[in-house]
Symmetry: C2
Subunit: 304 residues, 2 copies
DNA sequence: CACGCTAGCATACGGTGTACGGAAAAGGGA
DNA sequence: TCCCTTTTCCGTACACCGTATGCTAGCGTG
């Protein structure tokens, strides 16, 4: 196995607490340890956390996936010198994904880009999955986080805009993580900053999470639409260069008007033309809705 | 090439109008033809459509992708009898995708499921891409469309709920079509019905499209979250069975509390616990926002 | 029966991720 | 200096993928 230099955890654990991490002694890591150190909510938090966690299972698969992100290995002093850095690999991967989308991201392709053999990449990265994680993390590092003290509305707007810029700069991100974003440091930084914008508005915590999800989702949708739209003029394919061709010949050859009267009407009126604006317009509406929710939460809190 | 029994179109066309379709003479197909037949908006529509379409290019790739959906071949009378039907193949593909997600959908796997050789599938389906299209179309056929006369709000709510049910029933759909839904009959039926719910509310056509996109997007996001959540209890993997394992060992081993104070606080307060309700709650908020947009459109229309 | 059309499929090609094991280079200790 | 350990580098190989090609078996029709 590659990457044995990273510390190995015990398998299915007996005492999850003791086995925590080898190089302890700095700052508390893990919610349980944190609560015991009195950082957040002390004992109650520890109980809650441990109850929720139950038996912590560490599969090598999981360890492999998280280790590089959270515990990057120190550069080796002994042995043959490396031609590349991890960042070289990640950057090359990003470049490949930039033109051609995530489908084009093959290990052999990235290796060729770097002028090395395919298997050499596995010196730097345990596999393709982890490479993608690292690429995502690197992309999120560009995020210009809203500051801590800012009032919630401009801060949340900034969060949305930054997310928007991120997707437009790295459309391939939308092709990853169908279900959830990877547990990468800079990704969590962004989420932290996002939550921070509205956590002190008096909303119940569940709604805080829900609302941030709403914003994420909204931006993601707008970005998807905008990228698909851009693929029309740019032939710089995200794999969808020919979508417009399809569209054209479809409208002409197969579209049945009396089956789709509304679509025809909307089409004729130009409803499908506009690229639904550069975010701002409808984002304000969303923020309005959120503001209403915040006001409502404030009033019910003072009433009940 | 398989499927030569489907009619061939000319290549890059000279006169897009004349070449339209071989078996004409029934009902008008194509927006241009439709407008000329006086179905929708007559001459103005035809001009608009033709201006927008420009030269219609028909690549064999596109034809191949749309032909089966819109022009299913008549069952052959001559030659050896088929063991399977197209629907058998599509249903088997859906079954495979149901357990194991879209990644597990390989031609060989589907063939094995049906007890035939891998290449036999290509008698029924031109390729994997088209199989997925057909699967999506079949799934959308389950859609219980809102009726034409219904008032917009319950109709749109029904649309959202049906979409929601669709995603929960067929989570693999979320793994397809990163940018746009396929141009399949039942998919367009759903979109038609969706647009129909709000097209007569006085909103400008562009906003009609935009709002339906918003709803689609919202539902999609909620479904994604809900499915990811469900993967926790169900080990019936959408490929994410081990996500929760990851989560657990992550919180315990790598999470740094003072880097993520807000997340810790929200976590301790249980903000990440709830599966954010079965759609209804926040959908009403979205509908509220839409209602506001409709009211605004009505007032500005009467004013200006 | 023989012809022609069709379904069914074995084989093969070029692609993928990656396990394995050997070769090459560098540093540290004897 | 030599050697030994550590690390990089990567050729080869395997299992899997989608699918082009072309053969064969079954069927309806002349």
């Amino acid at each position: 196995m590659t990457h044995d230099r990273t510390h190995e955890h015990a398998g299915p654990t007996d005492d999850p607490h003791a086995a925590a991490r080898p190089d302890d002694g700095e700052r508390p890591r893990g919610v349980v340890a944190a609560a015991e150190a009195g950082v957040a909510g002390a004992v109650a938090a520890a109980e809650h956390a441990r109850a929720n966690l139950g038996e912590v299972v560490r599969t090598p698969e999981v360890t492999r996936r998280l280790a590089l992100l959270w515990d990057p290995p120190a550069p080796a002093t002994r042995g043959r010198k490396a031609r590349l850095t991890l960042d070289d690999v990640v950057r090359a991967g990003t470049a490949v994904a930039q033109e051609g989308g995530l489908d084009a991201l093959s290990m052999r392709r990235v290796a060729t880009e770097l002028g090395v053999g395919a298997m050499s990449l596995y010196t730097y990265v345990p596999g393709r999955t982890e490479l993608v994680d690292l690429m995502v993390d690197r992309a999120y590092a560009e995020f210009d986080l809203p500051h801590a003290g800012d009032p919630w509305r401009p801060a949340l707007a900034q969060y949305a805009h930054e997310m928007w810029r991120l997707y437009l700069r790295h459309p391939w991100i939308l092709q990853t993580n169908m279900w959830r974003a990877p547990l990468a440091p800079h990704v969590l930084d962004a989420q932290e900053a996002g939550l921070r914008t509205i956590v002190d508005t008096g909303l119940p915590e569940v709604q805080v999470v829900e609302i941030l999800g709403l914003v994420d989702n909204y931006v993601q949708g707008m970005a998807r639409a905008s990228i698909a739209e851009a693929a029309e003029q740019d032939a710089t394919g995200m794999g969808t260069d020919e979508y417009w061709t399809t569209m054209n010949s479809f409208w002409e050859d197969w579209f049945e008007v009396e089956r789709y009267p509304t679509m025809t009407r909307v089409y004729v009126a130009g409803g499908f033309d506009a690229p639904q604006g550069p975010l701002d317009a409808s984002l304000e509406r969303l923020l309005d809705a959120i503001e209403m929710a915040i006001d409502r939460a404030g009033s019910t809190a003072s009433t009940g």
